[in-house]
C-alpha cells in the first residue's frame, strides 16, 4: 500500500531498523523462535573448536556431523506434525528401526529393487502412523499411552525380524550412497545458487504479489538483507565442504557437499509448503491451538490428527533408510536407545512447542544440528558416555524450560 518501488535510502534504513525493532519486541514478548537454537549452535561450535581444534574443527568432521545428524533430523521433522497437535509419538524411534528392517530384509534377503524396498519401508510407516493416529483420534486414548505401547511392540518386532544380537548388512549402492556420497564441487555451487536464488525469487515475487493486491509489504531492503545473509551462509558452507578432506587425497579424493544436504532441503521445502501454504497445514495449527474452535469451524479434527501421525511415522520410516545407509545395515538397536529423545530434543530446541500449535519444519534441522554437535563433540572431550547422557538431558530440559517460559511470558505480555 505505502511502500513504493523506489524508496529513498533513508526510509529504507528506517524500514530495516523497524523490522529489527519488531523482531526484538517479539523476542522480548516471549516469541524467541529459533534464536536459542542458532545461538546454542554457534556457541557449541566455538566451544568445541577451541577445545579440540584438530579433531572437531576439521572439514572431515563437519561432513560426518551432518551424516550423523540426518536420521534424528528426519524423525524430528515428522515429530513436529505430531507435536503441533499437542500430542507425542514415543514410538517414532523404533518406527525408524522397523522401517530400516523392512528395507534391509527386502534388499538383502529377497533381492528386491531399491525403489520398491523404499516404498515398502515408507508404507510400513504409513500403516503404523495411521493405526496409532486412529487409536488417538477415534478412541481418544492419550497418545502417550498408545505410542508407548507401540514403542514396546515395535521394539519386539525389530528384535524378531533381525534376531537377538544379530545384524543384517546392506550392500545396495544407491541406499548406501545417501549418507556416504557427496556432490561434486561444481554441483555444490549449483545447489547454493538454487537455494539462494529460489529464496530470493520466492520472497520478492510474494512481495510483488502483495503490493499488487494493495496489501502492506515488507521493505525490499529487509528482504535483501535476508537474501544476503542466506547467500553468505551458503557460500561459507560450500567453501568448507568443497575443500579436500581425504586423509590421503592421492589415493581417493574426498570433497563436496554431502548428498544428504540436498535430500534434506527437498523434504524441508515440501513439508514447509504443506504446513505453511495449504489448507491442511492451517488446520493442523488450528487443531493444535484450539481443537474445539477447529471442530466448530467444520474441520475434521480426527482426520487431521490421523494424517499428522501418519506423516510422522512415514518420516520416521524414511529415517530408518538413513540409519541403514549410515551403519550399512540394521540391528535390534537401530532407532533405539536415545534416538527418540534426541529427536524430541531436536524439535524442542529448534523452537517447536510441546504444548501444541507452535512449530516449523526447519526447527527440526536447527535443533538437530545442536544435538548432533553435542553428540559429536562431547566424545572428543570425554570418553565417559554417562556425561554425554547427562549433558544431552540437561540441554533438552533447558529447551523445554525456554518453551514453557516463553509461553508464560507471552501470556503475561499479551503477545
Amino acid at each position: 500500500m505505502s511502500t513504493a518501488t523506489a524508496v529513498p535510502s533513508d526510509t529504507q534504513d528506517q524500514a530495516v531498523a523497524g523490522a529489527f525493532r519488531g523482531y526484538l519486541d517479539r523476542v522480548r514478548g516471549g516469541d524467541v523462535g529459533s534464536l536459542p537454537a542458532v545461538l546454542g549452535f554457534v556457541a557449541l561450535v566455538i566451544f568445541f573448536s577451541a577445545m579440540r581444534p584438530d579433531s572437531f574443527a576439521s572439514t572431515r568432521n563437519a561432513a560426518n556431523l551432518l551424516n550423523q545428524a540426518a536420521p534424528v533430523i528426519f524423525i524430528a521433522m515428522g515429530l513436529i506434525f505430531v507435536l503441533l497437535l499437542g500430542e507425542i509419538d514415543l514410538a517414532a524411534g523404533y518406527t525408524s528401526g522397523v522401517g530400516a528392517a523392512v528395507l534391509v530384509v527386502l534388499l538383502t534377503e529377497h533381492g528386491v529393487a531399491w525403489p520398491l524396498a523404499v516404498l515398502a519401508c515408507v508404507a510400513t510407516g504409513l500403516v503404523i502412523g495411521t493405526v496409532m493416529g486412529a487409536l488417538v483420534a477415534r478412541l481418544q486414548i492419550p497418545s502417550f499411552v498408545v505410542t508407548l505401547a507401540w514403542f514396546l511392540g515395535l521394539q519386539g518386532v525389530l528384535l524378531l525380524v533381525v534376531g537377538e544380537g544379530g545384524t543384517i548388512s546392506l550392500s545396495d549402492e544407491t541406499i548406501l550412497s545417501i549418507l556416504n556420497k557427496n556432490l561434486s564441487p561444481a554441483l555444490g555451487w549449483v545447489l547454493s545458487l538454487l537455494v539462494v536464488g529460489g529464496y530470493a525469487a520466492g520472497a520478492f515475487l510474494g512481495s510483488a504479489r502483495r503490493r499488487r493486491a494493495g496489501l502492506p509489504v515488507v521493505s525490499p531492503a529487509v528482504i535483501g538483507l535476508k537474501v544476503a545473509g542466506l547467500a553468505a551462509i551458503m557460500v561459507a558452507v560450500t567453501l568448507v565442504f568443497n575443500a579436500e578432506r581425504a586423509v590421503n587425497p592421492a589415493i581417493r579424493s574426498l570433497r563436496g557437499i554431502p548428498l544428504i544436504v540436498p535430500v534434506t532441503l527437498v523434504f524441508l521445502l515440501v513439508l514447509t509448503f504443506l504446513l505453511g501454504r495449504t489448507g491442511f497445514g492451517r488446520h493442523v495449527y488450528a487443531v493444535g491451538g484450539n481443537p474445539e474452535a477447529a471442530r466448530r469451524a467444520g474441520i475434521n479434527v480426527p482426520m487431521v490428527k490421523i494424517a499428522c501421525f501418519a506423516i510422522g511415522s512415514m518420516m520416521a520410516a524414511f529415517a530408518g533408510i538413513l540409519f541403514a545407509s549410515y551403519s550399512n545395515g540394521v540391528s535390534p538397536t537401530t532407532g533405539g536407545s536415545s534416538t527418540l529423545l534426541y529427536a524430541v530434543g531436536a524439535a524442542v530446541i529448534g523452537g517447536t512447542s510441546l504444548f501444541g500449535g507452535k512449530g516449523r519444519v526447519i526447527d527440526a534441522i536447527l535443533g538437530g544440528l545442536v544435538v548432533a554437535v553435542i553428540q559429536n563433540g562431547l566424545p572428543l572431550i570425554t570418553q565417559k558416555s554417562g556425561i554425554q547422557f547427562i549433558v544431552t538431558g540437561a540441554v533438552l530440559l533447558l529447551a523445554a524450560s525456554v518453551d514453557a517460559l516463553s509461553r508464560r511470558r507471552a501470556a503475561s505480555t499479551g503477545q
Partner: protein, 262 residues
C-alpha cells in the same frame, strides 16, 4: 408486540426436551433486518438452548422455524450457515496461535489451486473490519493471543459477518468485558444492525439491552413471556417479565405464570 411486516427469522411454538426435562415450552422469537432483538431471561431460562437449536447444533422437538417467510429445517450447523445465520458463542472459539485473518477464515479458507490465497483473505478481512468501522486492531496479521478481550470479541463478530450473513446471534458478548470495551462491542453490535443485519443479542445486562435493542424478547422458565418494543416498554416492565413472567397486561396469563413455578 412489535408489528413490522416481515421478520427475517421467526420461530413459533418451539419445544425442546432433554430426556424428561422440558426446557423450551412453546417459545417464539422474531428478528428483523436492521434491528437488534435482545433475548433476555434469568439463568436457566433456556436462552442458550434456544439459540443452539436455531444454529442447528440440535434439532427442536416441534415448532415452526421460518426464515425469510419460508419454513426451513435446520438440524446441522452447516444448514444454518448456508441460510446466513451465524452465531458468536460465549467462548469465542478462536485459535490463539493463529492471526486475525487465519481465524476469520478458519475452515472456509479461500484457495487457489493447492495453496491458500492469503492475499485475498487478508484483503477481505480488512474490508470487513473497515465496513464495521473497527479501528482498534493494529494489524490483521497479529496473533489473536496478543489481543484484548474486546478485540477478540470484535474478531469473532467480524468472522460471523464475513459470509454475507443475514442473521447474527451473539451469546453474551459483553459478559467478560470492562466498561470501555463493552462500549466498543455494543456500538459494533449497533452498527451490524445499521448495516442491515438482523441481530439477536443475548444479555443479562439491562443497561446493554436498553442501550442497543429495538425489540426485547423475554424468556421466563422456558416460556416466552413476551416480545415487546424496546422504545415503548419501561425497564421495570422488562425486569418484571424476566423475574415473574408477566407485567400488568403484558406477558404470560397468570395461570401459566403460576403453573411454570409449580
Amino acid at each position: 408486540m412489535t408489528e413490522d411486516p416481515a421478520p427475517v427469522l421467526r420461530l413459533r411454538g418451539i419445544n425442546k426436551s432433554f430426556g424428561a426435562v422440558h426446557v423450551l415450552k412453546d417459545v417464539g422469537l422474531d428478528a428483523w433486518a436492521g434491528k437488534v432483538t435482545a433475548l433476555v431471561g434469568d439463568n436457566g431460562a433456556g436462552k442458550s438452548t434456544f439459540v443452539k437449536g436455531i444454529a442447528g447444533i440440535y434439532g427442536f422437538d416441534s415448532g415452526e422455524y421460518l426464515f425469510e417467510g419460508r419454513p426451513v429445517s435446520v438440524s446441522h450447523p452447516k444448514q444454518a450457515a448456508e441460510l446466513g445465520i451465524e452465531v458468536v458463542y460465549q467462548d469465542l472459539a478462536l485459535c490463539d496461535n493463529l492471526d486475525v485473518v487465519q481465524n476469520m477464515f478458519l475452515g472456509r479458507e479461500i484457495r487457489s489451486g493447492l495453496t491458500l490465497d492469503e492475499n485475498s483473505m487478508e484483503r477481505r478481512a480488512e474490508e470487513t473490519l473497515r465496513g464495521l468501522s473497527v479501528r482498534t486492531l493494529k494489524s490483521v496479521r497479529q496473533k489473536v493471543s496478543s489481543l484484548s478481550g474486546g478485540q477478540r470479541q470484535t474478531v469473532a463478530i467480524a468472522k460471523a459477518v464475513l459470509w454475507n450473513s443475514k442473521v447474527v446471534i451473539l451469546d453474551e458478548p459483553t459478559a467478560a468485558l470492562g466498561v470501555a470495551q463493552t462500549e466498543q462491542v455494543l456500538s459494533l453490535v449497533r452498527r451490524l444492525a445499521d448495516n442491515g443485519l438482523a441481530v439477536v443479542l443475548i444479555s443479562h445486562n439491562m443497561n446493554d439491552v436498553l442501550q442497543v435493542a429495538d425489540s426485547v424478547c423475554a424468556l421466563y422458565l422456558g416460556r416466552t413471556a413476551a416480545q415487546v418494543d424496546a422504545g415503548s416498554t419501561s425497564t421495570t416492565q422488562i425486569v418484571e417479565l424476566i423475574t415473574s413472567g408477566r407485567s400488568g397486561d403484558l406477558g404470560l396469563p397468570p395461570t401459566l405464570a403460576q403453573e411454570a413455578v409449580a
